[in-house]
């Protein structure tokens, strides 16, 4: 646990700095009300009314996030294997190779079906 307390110190420092900045920015600086300032910026024209939260978003962002989760989990499996590679010797290598072949099959399938295309 002692290894992690310095991180807490730095985090407290960074948090203090960030909160201080946000508070200072609302204190210093003028507050001249102008109705146009409160609208969303749309290059100078009147903004078109949007649903709350910006409206609907294209689903491709969601699918990119899902694909990222899958490959991130794969990386998480690769990491401890890489650390203890020498102890695991040939058997570990072949076992992980089997896992990677499975992931590669899934990856090639997704590639060919267009899951990795950005619209």
């Amino acid at each position: 646990m002692e290894l992690y307390t310095p991180i807490l110190a730095l985090m407290v420092l960074a948090l203090g700095f960030a909160v201080f900045s946000v508070v200072v920015s609302s204190l210093t600086g003028p507050a001249r009300y102008n109705r146009a300032k409160l609208d969303s910026y749309e290059c100078g024209i009147e903004p078109t009314p949007q649903a709350h939260g910006g409206g609907r978003i294209p689903v491709k962002y969601y699918t990119v996030a899902m694909t990222f989760i899958i490959f991130d989990v794969e990386i998480m499996f690769l990491v401890p294997w890489a650390i203890y590679f020498d102890e695991l010797a040939l058997f570990g290598f072949l076992a992980m190779l089997l896992f990677l072949v499975n992931i590669t099959i899934a990856y090639v399938y997704e590639f060919k079906r267009g899951g990795l295309d950005w619209d």
């Binding site: 307390t5 900045s21 969303s40 990222f68």
Partner: protein, 425 residues
């Protein structure tokens, strides 16, 4: 020989606080320096001088900008979600600082005026590099929340695009780091620096180094991967609606992220705080005391210069182009290279003495050559479009149009008018 993992966790409280404050101050000063330096270098690359008014050589320009931003009006748009809008910059900035806690600046030194010997690194843990990746992912939360909470579609789309790009290149980054773990056998940054005492890792793991450098540029949203920040595309992206110091916090976080990925690159591939080859052979004290701080910052600033150089020279990639690159090119190459390095290691462990590490170099060289050739292969030329075969209609659409390629002007019809005097004879 530098500090090992056991040297950490034993500092008294005042040393911890001193090191935390030092890391914080170094980061803020480094950011101010980077902003000034980037403006100067990009200006020089564009045949103009950068800022040179505020202070000697314009060094106080970033400070002046910060003070200016602090004195600007703090606007919260009407459609914004107020709580999240104020929290998002904080969520972006805090992880950016915290990632620097495991970066090794130097070996063990004696704090002047005291008797305490401590490594020049805030802390280290057996999972240090994964810690950095995890905390950097928390920063992505802040970007998405900032974009969503601004209440305008452009900010939302900008935030989503930024974060989609960052997570795509994080996969490639993680895969490039796996080979470093294979070579070093540990994830702790100080141990990885110690393991590079003989040879820096960018030589045997050159493809990983290249992949890591490309994905670090994509991770930080810098040119040429900075479409979410392009003015013409999405105005300011996720920070369109932010003003004053909240905007400054986003900027600060971006530059600190740049510094963090540069620091990870130097630690993992360039030998961290170790002196470059030749200096350590000749000068015995190059890896002792406070000198390694110089080598570390030199290498980190070299990477940051590389970032600035890329920004000054390359055009922007289109969004689908670099998403395709990140998913379809970098990941397969990384996976193949991981299997290659693991195979080489198996061969070396099991059949030691028959094949040695030179084969790894050869393989890396062949790999890099194949990569370069594939990247430089020209695209298959598209056939020229067929010229139009329709009849030329001079007044198509209601206004006169010129002939398209393949069409011909009609033959000149004689109108019957001949040149003769009208009547003035």
């Amino acid at each position: 020989m530098g500090p090992t993992l056991e040297s950490f966790g034993q500092d008294p409280v005042w040393v911890v606080i001193l090191k935390a404050v030092l890391v914080f101050v170094v980061l803020v000063l480094l950011t101010l320096f980077n902003i000034w330096w980037e403006r100067r270098v990009v200006a020089r690359m564009q045949h103009r001088i950068g800022p040179n008014r505020n202070g000697p050589f314009g060094l106080l320009q970033s400070l002046a900008d910060g003070v200016k931003l602090a004195l600007k009006e703090d606007i919260i748009p009407k459609a914004a979600d107020k709580v999240v809008f104020v929290l998002a910059p904080v969520i972006v900035v805090v992880p950016a600082f915290v990632t620097f806690s495991v970066i090794p600046f130097g070996p063990e030194v004696r704090i002047p005026f005291t008797d305490v010997v401590t490594p020049l690194q805030l802390t280290d843990m057996p999972v240090a590099v994964i810690f950095v990746m995890a905390i950097a992912s928390i920063g992505i939360y802040g970007i998405v929340l900032g974009g969503w909470s601004s209440g305008s579609t452009y900010s939302l789309l900008g935030g989503l695009r930024s974060s989609a790009q960052m997570i795509s290149y994080e996969v490639a980054m993680g895969l490039a780091l796996i080979t470093v773990f294979l070579q070093a056998g540990t994830m702790s940054t100080s141990e990885i620096v110690n393991a590079q005492a003989g040879l820096w890792y960018f030589v045997p793991l050159l493809p990983s180094f290249i992949i890591y450098v490309i994905s670090m540029v994509g991770e930080v949203n810098r040119a040429p991967f900075d479409l979410p920040e392009a003015e013409g595309e999405l105005v300011g992206g996720f920070h369109t609606e932010y003003s004053s110091l909240k905007f400054a916090l986003f900027f600060l976080a971006e530059y600190i992220n740049m510094a963090t990925v540069s620091a990870i690159a130097t630690t993992l591939f360039l030998g961290g705080w170790r002196a470059p080859f030749g200096i350590a052979q000749v000068w015995e004290g190059a890896n002792e005391g406070y000198w390694p701080v110089l080598w570390f910052f030199g290498k980190m600033l070299a990477f940051i210069f590389f970032f600035i150089w890329l920004r000054g020279s390359l055009p922007r990639l289109r969004y689908d182009q670099f998403m395709d690159f990140g998913w379809k090119v970098l990941i397969p190459i990384s996976l193949v290279w991981i299997v290659g390095v693991a195979g080489m290691r198996i061969v070396r462990n099991e059949y030691a003495g028959q094949l040695d590490q030179t084969w790894l170099f050869v393989a890396a060289g062949v790999f890099a050559a194949v990569l370069v050739v594939l990247l430089l292969l020209p695209e298959r030329r598209q056939p020229e479009p067929e010229p139009e075969r329709a009849e030329f209609d001079a007044f198509a659409g209601g206004y006169p149009v010129p002939p398209m390629p393949g069409q011909e002007l009609p033959a000149r019809v004689p109108t019957g008018a001949t040149t003769h005097d009208g009547g003035n004879d």
